[in-house]
Subunit: 153 residues, 5 copies
């Protein structure tokens, strides 16, 4: 059975991991290994440990704030996550929701829930149906917001 | 036969991979291995896996948005792609088209198509005709837009 | 007995390491290894040396200034700390307090003390009670400032 | 005989490689290995391949545009070039001329020619006369523009 | 006898290396290995070569200009220096003086001289008296400018 690592933070304000696991369970039968760390900069090493411990893929969840320093932290986390992937040759799907992507708390929670679920579907495809991703290549898919769609010529 | 890895995203709004493969087929006989990932930050590890799996070169395609955070994502992806190359000693040709490079969807699609095709020619040259690249050294070549040409003195 | 590395700087204006060690001693019985370096850019290598020398986790403390160049130094230090973790597969908990996070010296000292102590509790949980972190996943925890709490829908 | 790697781009608008090789030939007897790649982000891996293939040093030439995204590309290329050096323990001398460093095409071409030649002299010194560099330490040398000179007290 | 690597640039406008070596000689008996490179982006690999060649620590000296592109170069150099440390598990003490830190050339030279000397003392402490650094932890030490001191509560 495929093993899916789940890493989230105590900093985020919505339990995206639960939403993603709920979605994945409806799509396939996988084994979860869940870890929680304080903040997004703690995600890279935890992801690497899970991948080297046998997980086939990892999904990470984070909710950076709206200030410039938060964008910088997200940049550091994302760069570290890419390095974790390069060290292990496995994917880490990053689900980040920035606080300034929504106008109020309800919108932000809804966005976080949808993005987590739609990225769970990406994880499912990467593990079991890569050909579905290629069918969607260049079609303007978005996670949590309406798809942009292919360019109209 | 040379093997060319192709990695694109479901996020992009134009099928640049198809354009590039079409162009390459007119230039040479190579074997393609195509993978599609959700977004540009997923390109580095997929490229590394293909290069270590026997591809001689990889072309990646992405279409980052126009917001500052999109530029940051592109920066993270590009840095990861450079690392993937340094780890494998092979080239990854990055074909990124930024949404703010064109004024409307048609222009953007046309730009994406041309850039994909012109970079396909770069891949052909890197694989089979490196001396053609040296003939073009310092001549202000551009991909998808008119060449800047050599400086006039 | 678990070994906890402590690395701080002579640049910072508050002894956060002492506060964190005081807090940790009230929570558990661990062995400390403390090192002090000049500035935050010296933290990554010192952390790596401690982790490779047997520490199970490291906490680092820094107090970057308020100018853009200080933010850049913090960025370099944070990136290096993430790399140190990826090289060792162990956590480094980063406790940084930016000078512009408070309005006066007393507020800044209080913030630094609280953040150091709250991150000490994160270290305790990572070492001994990871399930407590998962209970707090997505609940908007903050270190040194009031918790943001989960999103209200 | 020392081997000097030369890597330039088809993107640049001046043949800086030729200028540098011409200058080096007047200073010493070395063997050149020249490669041309499409853009500056392709320089790091090509440099690493040359260094691992026996070159003692590499000079790279690039001419980034004047837009913010061009500065970002230059940043990615420079970071990759530093990594290529760290992986091989050999120098890569980076000769970049930014389009906004000059007021017109003639000035830009002249600047590019001078900078390429002056950096060729740096390569000569690194290979054969390191003590000449130490004599110039802290004296405000510039490549392609007038030297700033040592600080006047 | 401890070996101290010294790497500086021909770009800088003050001989900080000489000031630092003069200061260190008054504090302890060490063997110096000095190298000079063109600019700050050449410092990382030279530092790594010295550290792997037996130096116990390296001090590097640089004087970046005041323009945004100079800050970017400094960022690239600093990141590379942190990587050089992570690869070797030894310290590189970075002594950078930015041109916009002073109002005139005399002030800048004085600042550079003082900063070089004060960081030489940091090198001395890291090599021989680490406990002195811990006594100074969190006390707001500055190099080349007046100490900020500990926070007043």
């Amino acid at each position: 059975m495929k093993r899916v690592g789940i890493v989230d933070t105590t900093f985020a304000r919505y339990d995206m991991a639960r939403a993603a696991m709920d979605e994945l369970k409806q799509l396939c039968n996988v084994k979860f290994e869940r870890r929680t760390v304080p903040g997004i900069k703690d995600l890279p090493v935890e992801s690497k440990v899970l991948l080297e411990g046998g997980c086939d893929i990892v999904i990470v969840f984070g909710m950076p704030g709206a200030k410039p320093i938060d964008k910088q932290c997200a940049h550091e986390a994302s760069s570290g996550l890419i390095n974790a992937q390069l060290f292990t040759n496995k994917h880490v799907i990053e689900v980040f929701v920035f606080e300034d992507e929504a106008h109020n708390e309800k919108e932000l929670a809804d966005l976080a829930d949808r993005r987590a679920r739609e990225h769970a579907r990406n994880v499912y495809r990467l593990l079991f149906k890569p050909e579905e991703l290629t069918k969607l290549a260049g079609t303007g898919q978005r996670e949590g917001t309406p798809d942009a769609g292919p360019l109209r010529r």
